[in-house]
Symmetry: C2
Subunit: 113 residues, 2 copies
DNA sequence: TGAATATATGAACACTAATTCATATAAACA
DNA sequence: TGTTTATATGAATTAGTGTTCATATATTCA
């Protein structure tokens, strides 16, 4: 973890000599890809309000029964959301605040022009 | 500009009653889509260091002659980069700091796990 | 003016990704 | 136990995206 120095303050961290290596580029692209679909974003916007079960997500974002679990699967694999089963319902929530920050920063930008 | 209240402090702005409408969802998805490709991210990582001409981008990120302008076109249309022609070279730079912030926040997250 | 260089663009192709449809699993309830 | 409800999954379809190849435009230089 000392071969790079990404861990500095975000804005000042970017070294002039820095060039994004292939692996980091791919990871970063994967992260942003998770946020690159309107329906996925709407699912996340629901989860931003708190833990919710699948059916309720479907209704809120007006997606079909099977489309929602399909998307949730991807988000789960990216560790963006987390599932908790209770009875026959499965409750999803954001796995941490990382994506919430990105989401809100992005929304901020979109809404300012 | 007062039909929404997105302009509050980012973290507290997210109203419990808020649900991402279709248009905002699409705009946001478009924004994140701009960052959803490794090569595009590498191009941006070069531009983060400052204004650069196309050929130099090609060399730095090891992309073909035509692939780079193709990608730059998309970034230009999204107003993420800006072009300045000088002689037969075209110099590109980031159009503002919006995407830089997203890029660095994302990189931050990727590098912390 | 003609050749060389830098960038852009259109079409074709390959690849990815999102949705739907059908079906499977699994829990609750009668 | 059998039926209903909630979620998940696989396959197929469709739409979108990134690259390459060939070519166009535009600028410099001889």
């Amino acid at each position: 973890m000392n071969t790079n120095s990404y861990k500095q303050d975000r804005v000042t961290a970017y070294d002039e000599a820095f060039s994004l290596d292939d692996e980091k580029a791919s990871q970063l692209a994967e992260l942003f890809s998770s946020l690159s679909d309107p329906n996925r974003l709407r699912i996340l916007s629901v989860l931003l309000r708190g833990e919710t079960h699948v059916q309720q997500i479907s209704e809120t974002v007006a997606m079909s029964q099977s489309a929602v679990p399909h998307q949730l699967r991807g988000l789960r694999q990216m560790r963006i959301v987390r599932a908790r089963k209770q009875g026959r319902m499965v409750y999803y929530s954001l796995d941490d605040d990382h994506v919430k920050e990105l989401f809100l920063l992005g929304l901020d930008h979109v809404c300012h022009e």
